[in-house]
Symmetry: C2
Subunit: 332 residues, 2 copies
């Protein structure tokens, strides 16, 4: 398959049947000048049609799907992303994250971004609170950021977000005045970040919309175990999107969005140390969350991603040309 665009001779698109529609749709889409787009749409059309063929999808079911997708798009706003939620509950977000951000042994696992990250979180100094007063049980957070060689990573931008103690993100309030229970901090010379937040609580994903209706039909609950989101960014390092989970949560083993990993579950402690409590204006009985994050470099991530892709594609029997870990053949 040449990488340069060459006009595709089209067959006459008449008398399309359930047997020839897939092949013909792929040929028509093969006019794209992008070999990657050609490959994506060849596989998309194949799977979409095979799904309909294998299920003998009825007209009523097709119509229900059209209505569902339409409603899912229509409920989206600047602060609500129902399609990400759909991707999350179908396990797609988990899969895409694992493939795109592979972790060598010892590195911190990633997990789903979810639909609640915003770009307007305020920057905080070390020791400050990312939550306004009265949002929940105070929790001192003390984390370190290191590389796979155990060296501190200095100057990492860390984006943190969580719900208040009613289980709602700031963006879920119609009268949101500004960001709350979210913030951005930068790691110090020892790769340390310290800030005040609140103890995470379990909560249901927004389930008053199409995705909530789907979960109900599927007999599934909409809950996520208590967690705090983290996103780490520094040039030269693979972006780490992850969360920390509190051990013993009732939804620890049945997360509605498939986000839990054992290595991200921790035991929440009490501060106990009076000097530490005093330094942060907290009580010894307040919560303490400690965790050591390990980032991978762009090089480490890319190398592993290409290796994993080649291994997986070989296992799947995909014979397409692979460039930088991405298959690009249109017709296989």
């Amino acid at each position: 398959m040449p990488a340069v665009y060459e006009p595709v001779p089209l067959p006459p698109l008449k008398d399309l049947t359930d047997d020839n529609i897939t092949e013909n749709t792929i040929i028509v889409n093969n006019q794209s000048s992008s070999p990657r787009l050609r490959y994506l749409f060849a596989r998309l059309v194949t799977h979409l049609h095979d799904f309909a063929r294998e299920t003998r999808l009825s007209s009523e079911e097709w119509d229900a799907a059209i209505q569902f997708l339409t409603a899912t798009g229509q409920i989206c706003t600047d602060t609500r992303q129902e399609f990400i939620l759909l991707s999350d509950v179908l396990g797609l977000s988990c899969l895409v994250d694992v493939m795109n951000h592979p972790k060598p042994a010892g590195a911190t696992n990633g997990t789903v971004l979810g639909p609640f990250h915003t770009h307007d979180a305020l920057e905080y100094e070390q020791g400050e609170s990312i939550c306004s007063e009265g949002k929940g049980e105070p929790c001192l957070v003390r984390i370190t950021v290191k590389d796979t060689q155990g060296r501190p990573v200095v100057g990492v931008t860390v984006d943190i977000w969580e719900t208040d103690d009613t289980g709602h993100y700031d963006t879920q309030y119609a009268d949101r005045a500004g960001p709350d229970c979210r913030g951005v901090l930068v790691s110090d010379a020892e790769g340390v970040i310290v800030f005040k937040a609140i103890r995470p609580v379990p909560y249901p994903i927004p389930h008053d919309g199409p995705v909530g209706g789907l979960l109900e039909k599927l007999g599934r609950h909409p809950y996520r175990p208590s967690h705090m989101h983290f996103k780490f960014d520094k040039p030269g390092y693979d972006e780490l999107v992850t969360s920390l989970y509190i051990r013993g949560d009732p939804y620890e083993t049945t997360d509605a969005v498939f986000g839990v990993k054992s290595s991200l579950i921790l035991d929440l402690a009490k501060i106990e140390d009076a000097a530490v409590a005093k330094e942060h204006g907290l009580s010894t009985d307040d919560w303490l969350l400690e965790y050591n994050f390990v980032l991978v470099t762009d090089e480490e991530a890319k190398e592993l991603k290409v290796k994993n892709a080649e291994k997986a594609l070989k296992k799947l029997g995909v014979t397409a040309t692979v460039v930088d870990g991405l298959p690009i053949d249109a017709l296989d």
Copy 2:
């Protein structure tokens, strides 16, 4: 797989990887009390995940897909259905129609409904015009409706819709006052329907939205060959959704929505017969469209649908239980 709902023992959903996410998502969805829904979602998740795995879908591509689907939902209104358009250009609508409305030899083929059918078309008497003045070149339409035994089908409700001569349906005008270039008639004792309309013209599907953007990226044109839509309804007969196409149209072999079938292409003639022209207040030089439609009964359609389903599923190697032509096993 029992048809009665039984609680599913869930595995702990922790440490999900690209290898085990599919199996686990299917088990969780398997809590539904509907065996058909369980089967649909088992196949949906399998294909969705296989698509991502085979393409090594990148985070950027996933994000582009989320944005595309959101925009597709958001542009939908009471009179614009962008998801049907998406289904049309990906060949899915064609496939679903063929499977759900199979035709024995001699019966009129169906084709895509498209997004422009409305439920507010007015009823007309035989001989009336479904188009207001000045909408295009006058065309007398004379059709018959028969069953597969050649007997006239009396009292069929026929819904007809087409664009004006600028290639726009009434619903595409912001100032639409009411239905135009669409109408409903009922077949007479001989199964005949006669009405006045206009000569169909080719037109592009709405391509100012996400689907138009997609076609451009795929190197595809958005045109449909000139056609007139028909929908036939009568209790006891399988609904026929179809269109008639004018031979020689520049887009006859490259319909953007895969709707053309050779048996639905006809030669448009001139009226010529002065008596006929006079009877309908037209000129002998005006257009004449004639076609003989053949409907199938519900029984004929259902029998063929089940037979086709069993044949196709056997060919695909699907071992699920099949009820009325629909597979219902959840785990295969």
